[in-house]
Symmetry: C2
């Protein structure tokens, strides 16, 4: 049975040279030549069997891809460019080496789209279930990172793509909006941003809480995904799915009030995907309430998105 060191050798054979990477995976740590002008952004996200994926349904390639894409989407949320990633993988005892390679290739496939080398990792097997944890480094690349804090009353609220029903499959296959976020932030007009992982209602609340503002959105502006319509058979409306479902990984951002450029008219030519739609969904308000207008009726928008409970 092949062991950890065979796997490490194989991973090393997969690595590419890069300006940034002075020493790639294989030693105790990788060494990077960080560019002096770049702010360094860092974070981490895990995917767990039975929570973020189902190993009896999803392929290791898909699972690896999702683990990496969640982290790439965090880079998008901050409007930085992915620079390097590391990963740990906890494999159920008896997992074939081929499965571990597929997991790695899934991560690599996702990261390669943004020239983000995987520079380190740790693989172990245990009597537990599959868990993959990725940490990512991003670089500011001459664009000031966008946080959740900068929304001001009067700013317009936008989302990319369409929302809801990601559970039908998109949660495994979404495209992190790295290029879109970077292009948007480069204009200097984005005042706050987040990626929608917990659901629009909750992530909008995160922006409002951090910025000390409120928001008013209109249901008519919410881009409802066809998957949300399909899921509405479960008793919740398609709009409810668009408002509260998690793992869309679209961008939710605010755009400076009084700006004459509109993000809806921007195109993102670097993207290898179909053109990314940008929808205006509402406006930032003074005060702290988050309300939604639907059929002429104004009601508080309660955060009902995804929260892990202990």
């Amino acid at each position: 049975m092949p062991g950890e060191f065979d796997f490490i050798s194989w991973v090393r054979s997969q690595q590419r040279a890069s300006d940034l990477v002075q020493l790639a995976a294989g030693d105790d740590l990788a060494i990077l030549n960080w560019k002096p002008d770049d702010l360094l952004l860092v974070g981490t996200d895990q995917v767990l069997d039975g929570v973020h994926f189902d190993s009896s349904v999803h392929s290791p390639r898909q699972i690896g891809r999702k683990a990496m894409n969640r982290n790439l989407s965090d880079c998008a949320a901050m409007a930085c460019l992915p620079a390097a990633a590391v990963a740990t993988v906890a494999l159920p005892l008896g997992t074939a080496m081929e499965y571990a390679k597929e997991l790695y290739l899934g991560m690599k496939e996702a990261a390669d789209k943004f020239d983000c080398p995987i520079v380190g990792g740790d693989t172990a097997s245990w009597s537990g279930k599959l868990a993959v944890s990725v940490s990512i480094l991003g670089r500011s690349a001459s664009v000031t990172p966008v946080t959740r804090k900068g929304a001001r009353p009067g700013d317009t609220i936008y989302v990319t793509g369409a929302l809801g029903g990601s559970r039908l499959g998109r949660h495994m296959s979404f495209s992190p909006r790295v290029r879109e976020a970077y292009a948007l932030a480069k204009t200097g007009h984005v005042t706050s941003m987040i990626d929608i992982s917990d659901g629009l209602s909750r992530d909008l609340r995160h922006i409002c809480d951090e910025s000390g503002v409120g928001a008013a959105i209109a249901s008519v502006g919410i881009p409802v995904h066809a998957d949300a319509v399909q899921m509405s058979r479960d008793g919740h409306t398609a709009l409810e799915h668009a408002l509260h479902d998690g793992e869309d990984h679209e961008l939710l951002f605010t755009w400076a009030c009084g700006t004459h450029v509109h993000p809806r008219n921007m195109s993102f030519p670097d993207s290898d995907q179909p053109p990314t739609r940008v929808s205006r969904i509402g406006v930032i308000t003074a005060g702290r309430d988050v309300i939604i207008e639907h059929d002429g009726k104004y009601t508080p928008l309660e955060p009902r998105g995804w929260e892990h409970t202990f």
Copy 2:
């Protein structure tokens, strides 16, 4: 039942200001002002229930400490200084918030010893067992990082501390040799280094393989830990335990041939621990064999340390 966001709020309340950290945990990523002169080192290591700890025996404080200390020890192995860490925690369903806090405090306690802020993380609960993954950033701090590659024939081989029997408890409570490694490398005489996690026989082989050299060590020079003596009741000698047991997390390094300074005479005044012993165990040789002299007999030293098998 308290949820993820309560825990995140609590974690944020634990964070301290620092020159390096422009934006701490709480947004999608943390933002660091990386110093232009510093090379950036990065890596990751996980601890899994039933493999690296036993949650029915070890406290969450101990588990958190070990998860962080393994990563700090990787910084030691490269002779860099820990700069920042991020962590993911997969908690069994129903875990109390207090347990999660203790895990975090264990990580923080270990990291604080080296002024290493924890700047991000992700906590989720699942039907699986406890898994903790930490990623660490190190900075070169004016000392060239030491890899496994630089050993040359004639170099002297040293280890810190005493080896073997860590399974009796030291694998949970070791002190990462960060200050020792940094002070040693600052002399410019350390030609290669690793921390002993897989066992001396295997980690010495890593250095020889990477450097393209061989080694000759003498059993009389191996610092055998009292725990190795105690474990020798299992049929393996104390020396065998010192040679092959994993998770000592002591430094194994080579020292340039012909140097008139001896690392044995160095002291490490910053350490909050008893003086760290440094022992000469052998010499790097041309060729590729790793041999051990014991009672006047020379035999090949087979790597028999810890290897995870799939």
